[in-house]
């Protein structure tokens, strides 16, 4: 594998998420954005036999690449599916336990993997910044066996207290908390993926645990970007940077308009066998 030298924060998170995909599993994925791109990338490069459903009721589509612009609206996004059903039907399938993994994006996440996609501020009725709302994320994070979350590693995103809990992780972290709130047993958050670190959850305490860090970053740097202190695995693994092959596929075929993969640039230099961030980096590609 060739180490890529320049990529965006979103590209890194999409690549790391795509590497988590397990062949032959069934995924419930957000209908657009980085989670869907991660699935599409995985299907192209690594795990062609994974299948996914989206909440409009499309089951196991095979979206052609290059993908169409304005993917959420395009008919091609549902092409070559095995069935066109509806929202209740795919939610029923998740409720029955057919959906192994949910893949979702989050605005804010806390140490138990609960997350926010509703608003920022301290007054629900007068939001400082309002977002689209839970969408299908609450049912996906409740009913799939395991949930993978994607977000940026920033202090304002990894918070001690969410401004609003749109969707559940392990709630207050106590044993059986999800079941007591009416959710199916043995479900919950599994991974949180960012551009420089990947987290899991501790089996005993259900607290977030740092599992892997990009070699150009460090454990200290990661912890410095979080409002709460996660557990740290005894053996934190290195996150291999995106490869040229992964980036080429993403840029040419998965998101040719560049709309979703844009982000802050990360440029790496090879300094005598170790990768480090270049001193001067270009400006952000979007706000």
């Amino acid at each position: 594998m060739t180490a890529a030298l320049t990529f965006t924060t979103n590209e890194a998170a999409i690549v790391y998420t795509s590497r988590l995909m397990e062949e032959d599993r069934l995924y419930f994925v957000a209908i657009g954005g980085p989670p869907l791109l991660a699935i599409l990338l995985a299907k192209q490069l690594r795990t062609p036999k994974i299948a996914y459903v989206v909440e409009d009721g499309t089951i196991a589509p095979e979206m052609p690449v290059p993908t169409p612009p304005f993917m959420v609206g395009a008919g091609l996004a549902s092409s070559r599916a095995v069935a066109w059903t509806d929202m209740n039907t795919v939610d029923f399938h998740a409720g029955l336990g057919y959906l192994d993994y949910g893949v979702l994006a989050a605005v804010q996440v806390d140490e138990y993997g609960n997350f926010n996609s509703t608003f920022l501020g301290d007054d629900f009725d007068r939001p400082a910044r309002r977002f689209g709302g839970p969408g299908g994320a609450t049912e996906i994070a409740s009913l799939c066996w395991r949930t993978i979350l994607m977000t940026r590693l920033e202090r304002r995103k990894f918070v001690k207290k969410l401004d609003f809990m749109s969707s559940p992780g392990f709630l207050d972290g106590s044993l059986g908390a999800r079941e007591r709130a009416g959710m199916p047993a043995e479900t919950g958050p599994y991974r949180v993926v960012t551009e420089r670190a990947v987290f899991g959850f501790d089996d005993e305490t259900r607290r977030m645990k740092l599992l892997a860090v990009a070699p150009w970053s460090s454990i200290d740097e990661v912890l410095g970007e979080m409002e709460f202190a996660p557990l740290v695995a005894a053996d934190v693994a290195p996150l291999d940077p995106p490869t040229e092959e992964e980036l080429a596929m993403l840029r040419a075929n998965i998101d040719p308009t560049g709309r979703t993969i844009s982000g802050d640039w990360i440029t790496l230099e090879d300094a005598g066998g170790t990768l480090r961030r270049a001193a001067a980096e270009p400006a952000t590609t979007n706000a």
């Binding site: 959420v72 549902s78 929202m87 939610d91 409720g95 709302g133």
Partner: protein, 330 residues
Amino acid sequence: MAPNGKTIAVLDEGVGAYRAPDPDGMRRFVRDHKDRRLVDKRMTEQDAVSRFVDDGAYVSYDTNVWRRGPSSLMREVIRQRKRDLWLAAKFSAHDATLLTAGGCISKIDVGWMEVGRVITEAMNAGRLKMYEWTNGALAYRHLAGALGVPFLPLRYVGGTDVFRNSGAKLIEDPYTGQAVCLVPAVNPDVALIHVNQCDMYGNARIFGPGLAPVETAMASKRVILSTEEIIDSEEIRKHPGATTLPYYLVDAVVHAPFGCYPGTVPGLYRADLQHLMEFGVAQVQGKMDEYLEKWVFSVASHTEMLEKRVGLEKLNVLRAEETHTEGYYT
């Protein structure tokens, strides 16, 4: 208290407002107001909206302005300056923003919606109240409404701030003894549904993945269909398996080719991305009034908007460039 002296424990409940479910009220409405005869229901969008969308109504629709949604009917709602509507935004696109900019809605049950400054500003000004649900919970509440039951149990929403801000309840399930969430049925006053084909009676076909068109139509007291194409009733009877909605659910049939414009009806025409960008820019620049003037108020109808604002040339391009038709009309 049940006759045997046992109660079902309500463990927790949200504080969000919702209309009290009234299955018998729905049945009486159907008995007294829904036509069971095969009658010609074709009418103009002006007549359909003025007859069946009242100020203060709870309005539901399927799917959204980006994809097979009732965009032309929404523009007519804005044109007629309907007020104080309560919108079910299950997987809404910028529909909620349009209706908010038009001053039509005061409450939204939200699953997901495209959000920009229009909605944020309306909320902060106290003109718009949001009730938090989820896409699935709203589709499921429509299912409860469609089944004619007052509520349904479901295994999510509980434990979250969505629960806290909604009308959901958490109870101890009398069968398993475990906690389970309940959500109230919703029976909208009116549903706006854009379909691919229907006959003059309202027997309708929808092609492609839906959101909850069947549940939405069944749950709603009034159903306005806009349709790309009106087909012969004999065609319906030749292929009964292709019918999505039977006529007696439907109150109005509005012929509206390009009825989802600027969105797409997959298999027929693609979305007008240029228009969607114009909308986005208008919102960012705070020029929604100008946008609405151009696309809604300065034209008398959907047909006039297509002729004067979009133009035949653009419409032909949108049709020609929707090259993927597999599974829809083939």
